[in-house]
Structures are given as C-alpha cells and as structure tokens.
C-alpha cells in the first residue's frame, strides 16, 4: 500500500529501515535536481544528495510532523549544498566576489568546468546563463532556484531559507534583477 511521507517518517522513527528506504527512493531525483542547480556540478550534487539523507536520518527525531517532509528535506539539502560550496571556497576552488548582504558568499559554478554536462550544453547563451548564476549570492541563488525551478511559493521558500517571507521575496527579486541585467543584452541580440 502506498504510504505518505508522514507515515513513512513515523515508521522510520520506530526503526523501520524500509520506511526510510522508501523516502530515499521517493525524494532522490528531485533532490538531485535541486542539488545540481545549487552546486552546478554533478559530483557535488551526488554528494549533497547522500549527505542530505544521512543528515535527515540523523535528525529524524527533530522533524516536526506538522511540516512537510519534502520542505524539511529541501532545507537540509540547501544547507548541505551551501556547506559544500563554502568548503570549496575555503579550498580556493572558487573566485568569490564579496557580497554586501548577509554573510553568505556568492555561490558559483566553476567558470570553466570541463564536466561533460557543461560541454554538452554548448553555446554562448548557456555559458552566459551559467556565469550569471555564479554572480548570485547564496541566499539569492537558493531563493531563485526554489522559486523559479522548483516552483515553491514564497512562503515555502522562506521556510527553507529560515527567514521571513519578505526577505525571501527580496532574494528572488535581487536574483532576477541580476540575471536580467547580465542576460538581457544577450537575449536582445539573439532575437
């Protein structure tokens, strides 16, 4: 019988490994998409997916059953992605422009990532889009990815970010404004 997330969480808390396995199987693909958009790298996204489930399992007792398991898991995945990007930054693998707001650093795809998926994208437009995404700060990128790609409402975005809805909205605004400024000349000439 198909069980909802909450039922599976309850069973997993009681020590039922199959219940947690079902949660992993159910949420892995969307979590990978989110992690990839956050980190911009396949291997990093794979690591984020695994770390997220490990963290979720560890923190299962803390999960508030009134909340959505998916949103809670997304929040963990976002934090894992940010941790990974920050550790990447510490290893000087990224060029990180200073950001005036919050203490979050600018997230970034490596500019010349030779990963096959990046090569397959090809074309100046896609390259520029990827570059423009690197110019977003952590909160901007997170808010934008969740709102634009994941289709979350602002309320849910704010829950994942752990901030007020107004702040989440502003992060989305800033992200879109930055992207528009960076990409508008490109789409204008492409017309």
């Amino acid at each position: 019988m198909e069980c909802n997330d909450l039922g599976l969480v309850t069973k997993a808390r009681m020590g039922d490994p199959d219940a947690f396995r079902m949660l992993v199987e159910r949420h892995s693909r969307p979590l990978f998409r989110l992690a990839y958009r956050m980190t911009g790298n396949q291997q990093d996204a794979e690591d984020v997916v695994q770390d997220s489930f490990l963290r979720a399992y560890k923190q299962l007792a803390r999960f508030d059953e009134r909340a959505s398991f998916g949103t809670w898991l997304y929040r963990i995945a976002v934090n894992c992605s940010l941790d990974l990007v920050r550790s990447r930054k510490r290893r000087n693998e990224l060029v990180v422009p200073a950001d005036s707001e919050m203490d979050d650093s600018t997230l970034g795809l490596p500019s010349h990532d030779p990963a096959p998926d990046r090569i397959a994208m090809g074309g100046e437009v896609r390259e520029r889009v990827a570059e423009a995404m690197t110019e977003l700060s952590a909160s901007e990128r997170t808010a934008f990815v969740l709102r634009h790609f994941e289709g979350m409402c602002i309320e849910d975005v704010s829950r994942v970010l752990g901030c007020q809805p107004g702040a989440a909205k502003h992060s989305v605004f800033r992200a879109v404004q930055k992207l528009r400024r960076a990409l508008e000349p490109l789409v204008s000439t492409a017309r």
């Binding site: 396995r21 693909r29 007792a61 995404m133 909205k169 989305v172 404004q177 528009r180 508008e184 789409v187």
Partner: protein, 266 residues
C-alpha cells in the same frame, strides 16, 4: 495606474501578488485583484509590456539551463550507497520512552555481571585461589573495557555534534539531550563498576563526563548560539573531548590482550 516597477513585474511573472511599502518593503499580499489590474495595465501600457517581455525572455533562457537526468532507479542507487552508513547510525536512533533507556542500561549491566561471573565459574579448577581471583578481575576488566569503549564513542559523537553546530539562530538540541540522558544512566553504571575494579583512570574521566552530560540533559531544548558557544568553551577548557579520545584509545588497545603478556592465558 502608474507604471509597474520591476518587482511588481517579477511578482506578476510568478503569479504572486503584493505591493511594495513606502520604505521599499513588501507589504502583505494584496488582493487578488492586483493580478487582474497588472494584466489590464500590461495590455494598455507599451513600456511596461516591453519590460515584461524582456523579463520573460531572460527567464525563459534561464529555463534552458539543463540538469543531467537521473534514471528511474536513481533512488535505489542512492539507498544502496548510504545504507551501510545508515547502519552505523541506526543504533543511535532512539525510540521515545524513559523505560527503554533504563532497560538498555540494565541489560548492559546485567550482561557485564553475568559475563564476569560465568568467566570466573568456568575458569580451570586447579588454579590457585590467588590466580583465580586475579583472572576474574582481569576478565571483568576486559568486559568493562569493551562496553566502555563503545560508550565513550557514543558520548564523543554527542559532544562533537553539539560543538560543531554552527547555527545562525537557536538550535533544537532535544535529540542530543535524549541521547545524553541515555548516556548518563550508563555512565553511572560503568563508573560504579570501574570503582569496584579499582580503575581510577576510567572513574575520573567518567565522573567529568557525567557532569557534562547531566548539564546537557538539563539545558533548555532550544539553545542560542551564545549558549552553544559557552558549552563549546567549557568543553575546551575542561579538555573533556581530548580525555575521552585518550581514554577511548587506551581502552581499544587493551581490549585485545598482548600476546606477550600473561593475560593471554585467559
């Protein structure tokens, strides 16, 4: 109606409503009529329509950023990769209920006593009483070491998780508190056993650890970053993690008797 600003256009694109306040802040969601009003305005206003079209083009281009596809059995693959690592954590996942921790601690203590007793009972009869007593003590000590080694590892995990927490806001530590509560119960039993076997080295560390664990158990379930920092500083000042590591390392080394020592005869 005045021209729509960029933020209003973005809201409209995402189907959200809301007007910026006087200070540029966003107010509560405005009436659903905002959407209709925005649509009507876009129909009538050329400059806003141009701006909105530009926004749509940019966001459509962003949509083109591909994500590598994962196969339908990707979830199964992820599970296979993490299953083993979860197994190590499974034993730390506790079921709620106070009876459980007492039952577990009681069972551990009973096993410790029974093992020591049985080892003593079946020791070769021809052994001199003095040797027999020494052997019983050594067996008991070894059983204690195995149990303490595992216990120290779990205590260390709880403390490390708390000291590594780096929150911006308050942190819910209720899960760690529950585990600390379990460990306090065990600490007392192991400390008493160690005191009986005369192992002052273990007793001393367990004494200190018990105080820390009791304080964690009695702390508020929501800790502010400042409280967490205070805990971190206390643990550093007392060097408790270092002591646990050293004791844990010594315990592990002693769990396997040296082939050159007389203990091998056990």
């Amino acid at each position: 109606m005045n021209h729509l600003n960029e933020e209003q256009l973005i809201l409209h694109y995402y189907g959200e409503t809301g007007q910026p306040g006087e200070n540029g802040e966003l107010g509560d969601d405005a009436a659903a009529g905002d959407t209709l009003a925005a649509e009507r305005h876009l129909e009538e206003c050329g400059p806003c329509r141009t701006l909105y079209a530009s926004l749509q083009r940019v966001l459509n281009v962003v949509d083109g950023l591909p994500v590598p596809e994962r196969s339908a059995d990707y979830g199964t693959q992820v599970w296979q990769r993490i299953e083993r690592r979860l197994g190590a954590r499974r034993r730390t996942l506790r079921m709620p209920g106070g009876w459980w921790r007492w039952a577990a601690a009681g069972a551990a203590f009973a096993a410790l006593m029974v093992t020591a007793f049985v080892a003593g009972r079946f020791y070769p009869r021809h052994t001199e009483p003095a040797q027999l007593a020494a052997a019983e003590a050594q067996t008991g000590e070894r059983v204690l070491l195995v149990a303490v080694g595992d216990y120290l590892e779990r205590s260390q995990m709880v403390l490390i998780e708390l000291t590594n927490a780096n929150p911006k806001g308050s942190t819910d530590i209720s899960a760690e508190q529950e585990r600390a509560g379990d460990l306090v119960t065990e600490t007392r039993l192991y400390r008493q056993t160690a005191a009986r076997t005369g192992d002052t080295r273990i007793t001393g560390v367990l004494d200190e650890l018990e105080r820390v664990l009791v304080d964690i158990t009695h702390a508020p379930p929501e800790m502010t970053p400042r409280q967490l920092e205070a805990l971190r500083q206390r643990l550093e000042a007392e060097g408790i993690l270092f002591k646990i590591r050293v004791l844990g390392s010594n315990v592990r080394n002693q769990e396997v008797p040296d082939a050159q020592t007389p203990r091998q005869t056990l």
